[in-house]
């Protein structure tokens, strides 16, 4: 039986987890008790909720958002440190506690990490936290010297009384500063004044990541912990009918078979033993009404949506029907894309511990610690105050681990069946691939009318697509319109006088969710179709877009920037095609140029992707560049990947049939930052927005073939 070593539930728990990590690092095999000895040093001062300063000047910055590779952990720390004016070399970061956030009246604000929001929607208050702490520290020093604040300067964590050259370090005044009332009316620095923010500083999380040291959700180890492997009904929405666990229960290491309405799990003393025993279960599922669903039935469902005269209208401008009727030339096209899995490298995982007193603790890779907390409490049947979530590093997120908290619900349900024992639930890759919340499949019909000069006078779109919001956030629907299903079509920057954008929601049984840049497929459809229109008008795709954008439009600026950087219009070697696209979203404006060729095996090779992004402001240009690379590889995968459905289930099961790009497939990626100032846009997703359209337009330029149906197959490229 484990001892309740984790009380009280405050910073000590963080130290506890670290103690376990040290074990995991192979330094020792036995757990060293008591762990209370590792409790936080009583002399450590919290200046405010975001900032802790140690007597030796080490600064710990609390991060409310999750780190899934996007770099917010470092960028947010840079913003705090910039205003705090501390020594960056002494900065480390840690995740803020969701339970403490609840108890402290959401002092850290939202913990949700998605929509490229991490930096842009918290930059104001985290910078203010840094500035307030700096003022409190300086005030404490001034008080100690009995001099006016105005006579003191501060640099890199050292406060100087200018007239006498006396100085005090932050660590020396932290205790006194913590007692000072935080100042109001803080003036934040302008980006031009920045010394820490805006710079390509090395990421705080990387040194550990090259040593195999960070604790991902899968790496949590607790005393006496058991492991669980899960099987969910292969047909979405099905229920568990019966399980014959006779063989499994006799297998080595197996502790329990946990049955729930919609899953069965085996708990054992190692994951491999749990998973092996899972395979020995004889499970009978009630697959429900969806056992016969297939790609064909899904296509029929979407086509029914396209034909639906009662589809909702997301945007009306002028009279598109009349303008089409009077157009000199009408261009029509149908585009489609399949369901896609997120395929995070780390499968879904949740360690849960239901204590004898009912308190539930969870360790998980989550994009939203608060959502995990609420889910854990609900699954445990306790109020949220009686739950805690420890946020680990995420082995990728891409939208999979935010709104859906299925893994937490399951982890806590399993742990409830093993009261007093921590259980780590980890999904197999097969479960992960087949129980995702997928990027929605969609079919879109587009029609546009050109006048005699080749000007676009009408644009009509009919979108048939499952709704992410209907599944995950129904209250965000507006008159039956899911903005994520129509974005980029319903909010075009192009000056087209007559527009009508319709949306037919067709949900089907496959769960859908936020997949990097939700609605991203519409950018592909729109920008490929605009390319078709440019061709129909006999115009250069860049000039054609320029003509439809206001001179001050940031879409135009990023197009100019990318055209210049990529050498638009310059000669290309034989066998290379070039294409472009521009899409705004997630607070930023992104334009991309792709260069492609056809490889010896007949497959598509993307050689180069230049992307210009105006995010108004940026915090770490190197992390932005890494995100551009990341968006390119995610977009590249999305051209070829597909989740197909047969007998109600997703057919792909692992990386052999859901193939990800490899190192040799990766294009050269060049990011051009063109921050125009005055606003804060994201970087986690904008880079993907123009990617696929730029590539497919390049394919057209090279081969004359329009790819309108994804996934792209080699046959589509053949002459």
């Amino acid at each position: 039986m484990t001892r309740p070593v984790l009380e009280p539930r405050s910073p000590q728990r963080r130290d506890f987890l670290r103690a376990c990590v040290a074990v995991g690092g192979g330094l020792a095999l036995e757990f060293s008790f008591p762990l209370r000895a590792a409790a936080a040093d009583a002399t450590v001062e919290e200046i405010n909720a975001w900032i802790v300063i140690h007597p030796d000047d080490r600064v710990v910055i609390r991060i409310a958002r999750s780190e899934m590779g996007q770099g917010s952990y470092t960028a947010l720390a840079q913003l705090v440190a910039e205003e705090l004016d501390c020594d960056w070399a002494k900065v480390s970061a840690e995740f803020a506690s969701p339970n403490e956030n609840l108890r402290r009246n959401r002092v850290w604000g939202s913990m949700s990490t998605g929509g490229s929001q991490g930096v842009r929607s918290s930059q104001d208050y985290v910078r203010k936290a840094g500035a307030a702490a700096r003022e409190m520290l300086v005030a404490a020093a001034a008080a100690q010297w009995n001099v006016p604040r105005a006579a003191c300067s501060v640099d890199k964590g050292v406060i100087t009384h200018v007239p006498t050259r006396r100085s005090l370090r932050y660590g020396e005044v932290a205790a006194a500063a913590a007692k000072i009332a935080p100042p109001q009316d803080l003036k934040l620095r302008e980006p031009v004044e920045w010394k820490i923010a805006g710079k390509p500083l090395p990421r705080l999380d990387i040194p550990d990541k090259v040593l195999g040291k960070p604790v991902f959700g899968t790496d949590v180890v607790l005393p006496g912990m058991l492991h669980a492997s899960i099987a969910q009904c292969p047909v979405f929405g099905g229920r568990l009918l019966s399980v014959d666990s006779t063989v499994a229960e006799g297998m080595r290491g197996v502790k329990k078979v946990v049955r729930a309405d919609d899953f069965v799990a085996v708990v054992a003393d190692s994951w491999w033993r749990a998973h092996r025993a899972l395979g020995a279960l004889k499970i009978e599922w009630d697959v429900g009404a969806n056992g016969a669903a297939s790609d064909a039935t899904i296509e029929t469902m979407l086509r029914d949506g396209l034909a639906d005269p009662k589809a909702g209208t997301a945007r009306t401008l002028g009279d598109a029907a009349a303008a089409l009727a009077g157009a000199t030339k009408v261009v029509e096209a149908e585009y489609s894309a399949p369901y896609l899995a997120h395929a995070t490298m780390e499968p879904q995982v949740c360690t849960a511990w239901v204590k004898p007193d009912g308190f539930v603790e969870v360790w998980t890779s989550t994009q939203n610690g608060e959502a995990s907390l609420a889910t854990a409490a609900r699954a445990a049947g306790v109020p949220p105050e009686r739950a805690e979530v420890h946020k680990t590093m995420l082995g990728g997120g891409f939208g999979r681990r935010g709104a859906p908290q299925d893994f937490v619900r399951q982890g806590v349900t399993i742990a409830k069946a093993m009261p007093g024992t921590p259980v780590k639930l980890m999904w197999s890759r097969e479960e992960d691939m087949q129980h995702d919340f997928y990027r929605p499949a969609s079919i879109v019909k587009l029609r546009a009318g050109l006048d005699a000069e080749g000007k676009v006078v009408a644009f009509e779109a009919k979108v048939a697509c499952p709704s992410i919001l209907a599944v995950l956030i129904p209250r965000a629907l507006r008159n039956g319109i899911d903005f994520t299903a129509v974005r980029t079509l319903s909010d075009m920057p192009y000056a087209i006088p007559n527009q009508k954008i319709d949306y037919a929601m067709r949900n089907g049984h496959v769960p859908v969710g936020f997949w990097r840049a939700p609605g991203q497929q519409n950018g592909v459809y729109r920008e490929c179709f605009i390319d078709e229109l440019a061709h129909a008008a006999g115009q250069d795709p860049l000039a054609f877009r320029f003509a439809m954008l206001e001179p001050e439009d940031r879409n135009l600026r990023v197009l100019e920037a990318v055209a210049k950087a990529a050498g638009w219009g310059r000669m290309l070697p034989a066998g290379v095609g070039r294409g472009l696209a521009v899409v705004e979203g997630f607070g930023s404006y992104a334009a991309g140029v792709a260069e492609v060729s056809i490889a010896a095996d007949g497959g598509l090779k993307v050689l180069r992707y230049v992307v210009a992004i105006d995010s108004g402001t940026f915090v770490n240009p190197d992390t932005c560049a890494a995100q551009a690379e990341s968006n390119a590889v995610y977009g590249l995968g999305g051209l070829f990947e597909a989740c197909t459905v047969r007998d109600g289930r997703v057919q792909q099961s692992n990386f052999h049939d859901f193939r990800l790009p490899m190192i040799g497939d990766m294009p050269k990626v060049e990011l051009v930052l063109v921050p125009s100032g005055g606003f804060w846009g994201g970087h986690g997703e904008p880079g993907i927005l123009p990617f696929q359209a730029a590539v497919l337009n390049a394919v057209f330029a090279l081969t004359g073939k329009r790819i309108r149906r994804l996934p792209l197959r080699k046959e589509d490229l053949k002459a």
Binding site: D205, A343, M345, R429, N654, I663, G664, M666, K668
Partner: protein
């Protein structure tokens, strides 16, 4: 009992001979740097060295690993950080980092067998999957090590 030589230490383990080395490392030796991601030798997140060769620990049984010299990411940095790990920091390679232990083990093995790898050598040897897009920096860091940077 199975005796395994892991990071220079002999470990005697009471595990099934067919248990994959990955799970021996993770669940029985608490060496958690080596990751599970596919279980079918497709992704390389579990890459470790066995007698100096890169292997995918999810498909090497404990019995097959017995008597072999196993080195994991934790052993690579003993007594000090490997030059490949240093290059990984210098070039800011990892993003989420989940695949990076395997990526580094594969890169170390490549550089040991081919000290000056070409891009084609890198494409052929570095078959590890990364969902975040660390590939360009992986390539850059490998070339930097090869060039003594």
């Amino acid at each position: 009992m199975i005796a395994l030589d892991v990071n220079g230490r002999i470990r005697n383990l009471d595990v099934e001979p067919e248990m994959p080395l990955l799970w021996v490392l993770r669940d029985h030796l608490n060496l958690l740097g080596t990751k599970y991601a596919c279980g079918i030798a497709q992704c390389g997140a579990c890459t470790v060295h066995m007698d100096g060769q890169p292997v995918r620990a999810c498909v090497v049984t404990a019995a097959a690993a017995a008597g072999k010299r196993i080195v994991t990411i934790e052993g690579l940095s003993q007594p000090e950080m490997h030059r490949v790990q240093k290059a990984w920091i210098e070039h800011q390679v990892p993003q989420c980092g989940y695949c990076q232990a395997g990526m580094i083990m594969a890169a170390v093995a490549l550089l040991e067998s081919t000290p000056k790898p070409t891009d084609a050598d890198i494409d052929a040897a570095m078959t590890n999957l990364c969902r975040c897009g660390s590939y360009p920096r992986v390539r850059e860091a490998i070339h930097a090590v090869a060039n003594g940077a």
